[in-house]
């Protein structure tokens, strides 16, 4: 579905943001990109949408080279919620914001109305329907950009730091939304520093450092690799750290606090 073939990218100021990245994400996969600030994660996302084109190598989305596809073609397939929602919001009302792309993609008016209501409801934004997006809190703006994207139902959903500004309840809903997208067969790519958010939803984890992919594998394997994570300035999930600190290891790391507590209770029994 998404394929990076030995992709390099150099910014105008000479900074090499991607350095020979090869990566294949299959349709329906759920991938988390982690790594230190400046590792190239956002640059990678911008290559999938065609906002940036590789200096060398190629990026294929659904078999099409991004150099040969228009931004409009790509954006119908790939929806991205960027880190900073202020770069994405421009309409007078929340409702208008959500309708904009849908109308551009040629959805009929009644479908636009339905999709807008569905998105506002799903993300708890119904009360702001006729408000300006500018009055929303940081977390609410993030949810609005996400609602806008899901409304046009792209095959690939990319979320750049989606948990920033979200409280625990919203994060849980977001995790639920990701599960929903997964079960609908969508390809989901999440860029996040929020390891505690990622751990329970168990993505395939791709670790980036200095423009390269330095680790790639299931969450359980990657999150136990202290050396790899340390070199990429990524923290371990608390439950993995707890599990690794135990002298009598129970087998696989705990994914949920309840599992950890149940196990610990057994261990503490005299």
């Amino acid at each position: 579905m998404i394929e990076f073939r030995d992709v390099s990218f150099v910014h105008q100021n000479g900074v090499r943001a991607l350095d020979g990245v090869s990566l294949r994400v299959e349709a329906g996969e759920f991938v988390a990109l982690v790594g230190e600030n400046g590792a190239g994660k956002t640059t990678l996302v911008k290559h999938v949408t065609g906002l940036l084109k590789p200096v060398s190598g190629s990026v294929l989305v659904d078999g099409v080279d991004t150099r040969e596809a228009s931004t409009a073609q790509l954006s119908r397939k790939v929806g991205v919620a960027f880190q900073n929602p202020d770069h994405q919001l421009f309409s007078e009302t929340v409702e208008e914001e959500m309708s904009f792309a849908l109308r551009n993609f040629g959805f009929p008016p009644e479908l636009v109305r339905d999709r807008v209501s569905w998105g506002l409801e799903l993300f708890g934004l119904g009360e702001y329907r006729r408000s300006s997006p500018l009055i929303l809190s940081g977390g609410e703006k993030k949810r609005l950009t996400l609602a806008c994207i899901l409304a046009w139902d792209p095959q690939v959903v990319m979320l750049d730091e989606p948990t920033v500004g979200q409280d625990a309840i919203q994060k849980e809903k977001l995790a639920g939304t990701i599960q929903m997208l997964k079960s609908a067969g969508k390809t989901v790519v999440v860029v996040s520093h929020d390891i505690e958010f990622l751990w329970p939803i168990q993505p395939r984890v791709v670790v980036m450092k200095g423009g390269r992919v330095v680790g790639d594998g299931p969450a359980t394997a990657i999150m136990q690799d202290r050396d790899l994570l340390g070199s990429a300035r990524v923290a371990q999930p608390q439950l993995v750290e707890f599990y690794q600190e135990l002298h009598r290891r129970p087998g696989t790391p705990f994914v949920h606090p309840l599992d950890a507590a149940r196990w610990a209770e057994e261990a503490m029994r005299p």
Partner: protein, 283 residues
């Protein structure tokens, strides 16, 4: 110790808004504390912060009642200029506060505005750059930096003013985990060395609970919980108010219910501390 921040019966409603953003709010923060302010998005945290740095009521219209005292002076009656020397504010989005052509100039901006002498300014800027480990970025243009680097530049600009009270609005949200824990360690060190008071709005509590003296939870514009991080996070209501109880604290709490012994000890345990407690080793 004197209260650096005192909020007295504060209510505020934005123009054209049907409801108060902040209601009947009371808070006293003694000098030198690290206080974490948490709560669901849209709960009024950002509004409360604006009443402390003076943006409300000086730059916003709306209905304001009650009072906010910073270092004993009413924000309503203080000029923005005076407040800028007492209260430092790091916005959620660093792009809102960095705009000069070089990092160095940006960090010096607030000091220049106050007319701080050149040499002192140099020293303070260098110190701030060193504290945030961004000395190598001094000559770079802020717009070329990553978001995490921008965050550090903005914070350096705040610290260069040597404020008594620093408000950080989700300071770690754009930082990688290691950089985020370094920032938290930096906050703890500045509090210790300079006696600076910090109010931190943050959802990622796992990083902060180890250094915070107090956790205040807001919901619907009101204060709903207040206490030590351990007391608040062990309360059953905490999660209902959108507080992100760290995973290891959830485990500690679940164990405390059954075994009131080691795991229920008065302080919050780290993952390795909890592992030791479970195995009966010395933490």
């Amino acid at each position: 110790m004197a209260d650096i921040l005192k909020v007295e019966g504060l209510s505020f409603r934005y123009p054209d808004s049907p409801k108060n953003a902040v209601s009947d709010f009371e808070l006293s923060i003694p000098e030198g504390e690290i206080v974490v302010l948490a709560g669901p998005s849209g709960c009024g945290k950002s509004t409360l912060l604006r009443t402390v740095n003076g943006l409300i009521p000086h730059m916003y219209g709306g209905e304001y009642s009650g009072d906010v005292l910073v270092a004993g002076s009413s924000v309503k009656r203080s000029s923005m200029r005076d407040l800028a020397q007492t209260v430092g504010f790091l916005f959620q989005n660093p792009e809102n506060q960095i705009f000069m052509f070089s990092v160095e100039r940006d960090v010096a901006f607030g000091l220049e505005n106050l007319g701080v002498p050149r040499e002192e300014m140099r020293a303070r800027v260098d110190e701030a750059l060193r504290l945030l480990r961004i000395g190598d970025l001094a000559q770079r243009a802020p717009h070329e930096l990553s978001d995490g680097q921008k965050q550090r530049v903005a914070l350096a600009g705040v610290l260069a003013m040597r404020p008594k009270l620093v408000i950080l609005d989700e300071p770690t949200s754009l930082l990688d985990p290691k950089t985020a824990s370094e920032l938290v360690a930096l906050v703890a060190r500045l509090r210790k060395e300079l006696g600076t008071t910090f109010v931190v709005v943050e959802h990622r509590l796992d990083l902060l609970v180890g250094v915070a003296d107090r956790l205040v939870v807001m919901d619907g514009g009101r204060k709903v919980l207040e206490g030590t991080p351990r007391d608040v996070l062990f309360r059953d209501e905490a999660e209902a108010h959108g507080v992100a109880v760290p995973a290891v604290t959830k485990v500690q709490k679940l164990l405390a219910g059954r075994d009131a012994g080691r795991a229920a000890a008065g302080r919050l345990l780290t993952p390795s501390g909890l592992a030791s407690a479970v195995e009966g080793r010395q933490a």
